[in-house]
Amino acid sequence: MEYPRQITAIQAAAILISTIIGVGVLPLPLFAVRDGNSGAPLLTLLGGIIAYIGIWIITKLGIRFPRQSIILYSEAVLGKWTAWIGNVLIIGFFAFLTALAAREFGEVVITSVLKRTPLEVTVIVMLLMASLSSRNDMTTFAYIHHFYLPLIVFPIVLILALSLKNAQFINLLPVWGNEPSPTDMWRGVLTIAALFQGSFVYTMVIPAMRRPDRAMVAGFWGVFIAGGLYVSTVIAAVGVFGPAETNNLLWPTLELAKATSLPGNILERLDAAFLAVWVTAVFTTLFSTYYFTIHAMSRFFRLRDHKLLAPFILPFLFALAMVPQNVVQMYDIIAIAGRLGLLITIVYPLIVLLVAVIRKKRGDAGNGKDAENAS
């Protein structure tokens, strides 16, 4: 039995899950509650569905062009210069996303555990970690995500399970929220869908998959599990704190960890431990987006190898991360940039797909020249 050297469907799903679940989980209930009140879980679900549509489009494209990443096939579909704009936007957006994720986690760390450590240090440590690991090849990229998956899913499931005893069902009613306003709801759904957009890295994963035809199944499970965890997190946070209190908390998920304790007093409190374990979740997200950025750049510039770019973009990302003045401004930027990013991660692929269907462009599976091997 030959063991596959390339990415399997399970690994692809793992990449999706661990990319989607990251530092965004910490403020997620707040985002949902702010716009949806007690309808937060519903909002999250809708956000997940939008995200799934995005994945569906990307996967369709990926199956259509099974040997190329979006940077290359968009050029074939849209023409060189039109695609050029889109690609620059994609690269820039992912660089920004990486920087903001590092910044966000840096803020979390300096607020709750390392209070006297400068923000710059925590941010640069995260970026450095992602940069060092991005020197690996695509197979290792998949291995890393695969390996950390339990470390990401387990703590969040544990926190959810432990907080169930404090949760009250009444806090979740009515499910559609108190006095729902469509504009707010819509904004909230988009904000939450934006938390899923790390899943765009799937465009890079599909060409490296052993069987790109299974990408659809993997994509579904990846978004399904990640979305399920998102919804359960929101349910747990709103169930425990209630919508009003959740609205007061910057990182409700972290508060959830603070409010629970392990039976048997093994650890007196979970928040510091949770945050420590959460470093892996943040790392995988950061790693994915960082890797995607340099991978897309290397394809864009037609470089053979992406390794050299890894340290090269580090200073730029760091500077980007330092742009927001404070945590409030940072979250404003994240919300706006996230919603705008949906244009890049969902609408742009949709355009590419439509044009490809109209122009009847189709990637040649045996096209060796532009083919991306597993490197």
């Binding site: 197979t139 007196e268 470093v279």
Partner: protein
């Protein structure tokens, strides 16, 4: 394209690149007389050999006449060759014309055949005319006979080097299992392998490495079980080695491993013959070097470092439990000190209040911060360990008592370190001793120092950052193309039966998939069916006197991986 092929391509590219003239490791003899050949002139030969080796005290040359007619000379190194053997099996038949040859007249040209075929009573005799071969035979303990007028010399292998007895390996002791280990002599080691694998599939390819030591290297594998590409790659990597001496198999390890800068060993070594054989059966390649009692096993994955051979002899539930304990020990040896520092100095809220207050009391008089304390204790522990390692056992025991008990106790009562720190360091040290593979334990021992420093900078966050970096490194490591953490990542259910938990032997039907074995059936297909049949409780008191049911002998088909006599390769 597989990773392996890719790496081959890459190495191929490198070879094609213009090579700079390397300063070859010197060996004067082959440089000067690489292809000098023997002439019929005896005196000339004697002069030449004497010029080369004559000034050695242990070099011996003896002139005599073959069959009383042909002047000849015999060379050997007296201490390396078996004198009794030389006397009875070489000199005697040559000097005293054997009965069946009496009265026959030979020409000097026929003499070589007569000597080799009709005269010498020795299995390993050959002839050659190249001085390089002759001298090498001499240097390895052979005896060389040169006859006047004969244009080839006769070389007889009479090597007799003292060797130690085969005994239990010191480094890998088991409670249950075979007790024999490799020794320094390659020949003996190969015989030990052959003794356990009487199959035509066992192939032993040999080569010579080391320009001065000319160490014999044996690459052993089971044809048909091992992936041919792997054998080829091992041979390729070995054949490019150019060094003056290979004194231990560890020299080779450093040349053939994939990542030289990694703290983790990517090649396993063992002194145990049964372990080597077990790995051969899994589809790995074993490399032996003359002069080293260790065998290298490639490719290696991380799992192998906490597994021992007796894991497969004991019952599987117990073994799984013990392996869990070993893994725990591994984790202890890596992270305990850094966790301690992180919790004490950054997050004391994690430990129970009573304990926190108690710890705080225990540390009240300590002049150093916990990180300095831990690093100091760790450093002294390393020193102590190194000191006891090299000492004779009697003194070593005493020293460790002095070191651990007296110094530890005194350090605590002197207020130098806190009692909790001593406990933590002890746990760490014990943890690192519980790892079966010394080189893997060494890697973790080394890595806990940076972890402690990271913990001192960023607390738990730092520990996690360190662990992630270590894990990423492990995930990117390959040993001959096999991912280092397989079969966990990339996952393979069948091979995962032998990771932390060990499934029963009958359920591990396949050889590890990561090794790409052409023949991956390990256990016969019908074993389970036969085992599932109701047991014949032959000696059940109720049944005594009953007719014994027909039983099949043996539980599996006889050819699990062995193609037997029909060597079709």
């Amino acid at each position: 394209m597989t990773k392996w092929e890719w790496s081959k391509l890459r190495s191929g590219k490198k070879k094609r690149a213009p090579q700079i003239e390397i300063n070859r490791v010197p060996d004067q003899f082959t440089e000067q007389h690489g292809d000098k050949r023997i002439t019929g002139d005896l005196e000339q030969t004697i002069a030449f050999v004497n010029g080369l080796l004559g000034d050695n005290g242990d070099f011996m040359q003896r002139r005599f006449d073959v069959f009383g007619a042909f002047p000849a000379v015999m060379f050997s190194f007296s201490n390396m060759s078996d004198t009794a053997l030389v006397n009875t099996d070489i000199l005697k038949p040559l000097m005293h014309v054997p009965a069946h040859l009496t009265g026959i007249q030979f020409d000097v040209h026929e003499l070589k055949d007569v000597i080799l075929r009709d005269t010498l009573y020795h299995g390993k005799a050959s002839s050659d005319d190249r001085f390089a071969m002759i001298v090498e035979s001499l240097l390895r303990g052979g005896t060389v006979i040169v006859v006047d007028g004969m244009d080839e010399a006769i070389m007889v292998e009479t090597t007799k080097v003292e060797k130690r007895a085969i005994d239990q390996p010191e480094t890998e002791q088991v409670i249950r299992g075979p007790r024999e280990g490799f020794i320094e002599q390659l020949g003996t080691n190969l015989s030990l392998l052959r003794y356990r694998l009487p199959t035509t599939d066992l192939k032993i390819k040999s080569m010579k490495l080391g320009r001065v030591t000319k160490s014999r290297v044996a690459v052993c594998y089971l044809k048909g079980i091992v992936s041919d590409a792997l054998v080829q790659e091992v041979e390729n990597r070995l054949s490019v080695i150019d060094i003056d001496g290979v004194l231990d198999v560890g020299y080779l390890e450093q040349f053939i491993e994939d990542n030289n800068f990694s703290p983790f060993p990517q090649v396993q070594n063992t002194e145990r013959t049964d372990k080597a054989v077990a790995n051969l059966l899994e589809g790995r390649v074993v490399i032996l070097v003359d002069g080293s009692p260790f065998a290298l096993i490639v490719p290696t994955v991380f799992n192998q470092f906490y597994q021992t051979t007796e894991d497969y002899s004991e019952r599987f539930v117990m073994v799984s439990f013990i392996r869990l304990a070993r893994l725990l020990a591994l984790a202890f040896s890596l992270i305990t000190p850094s966790l301690y520092v992180a919790i004490i100095a950054f997050n004391p809220e994690l430990i129970p209040t009573k304990f926190a207050v108690a710890v705080s009391g225990g540390r009240a008089g300590i002049p150093f911060p916990s990180v300095v304390e831990v690093l100091m204790m760790e450093a002294s522990m390393e020193v102590l360990r190194e000191a006891t390692l090299r000492l004779p056992q009697q003194i070593g025991g005493a020293l460790s008592i002095v070191g651990v008990l007296v110094v530890g106790q005194a350090a605590v009562s002197a207020g130098f370190v806190s009692p909790i720190t001593v406990v933590v360091i002890a746990l760490t040290t014990i943890g690192s001793f519980a790892t079966p593979a010394y080189n893997a334990a060494l890697a973790l021992r080394l890595l806990r120092f940076p972890l402690v420093i990271l913990a001192a900078m960023f607390g738990l966050y730092g520990v996690m950052v360190g662990l992630i970096l270590i894990a990423n490194h492990l995930l990117s490591l390959r040993s001959f193309g096999v991912p280092y953490l397989s079969p966990v990542v990339p996952g393979n259910f069948d091979s995962m039966k032998d990771t932390v938990a060990r499934a029963p032997l009958w359920s591990m039907k396949k050889r590890p998939a990561m090794l790409h074995t052409p023949n991956d059936d390990r256990v016969g297909g019908s074993v389970m069916d036969e085992l599932k049949e109701p047991p014949h409780n032959t000696l059940d008191p109720l049944k005594v006197g009953n007719h014994k049911e027909e039983m099949k002998i043996g539980i599996s088909s006889s050819n699990n991986g062995d193609t037997g006599g029909s060597d079709s390769h």
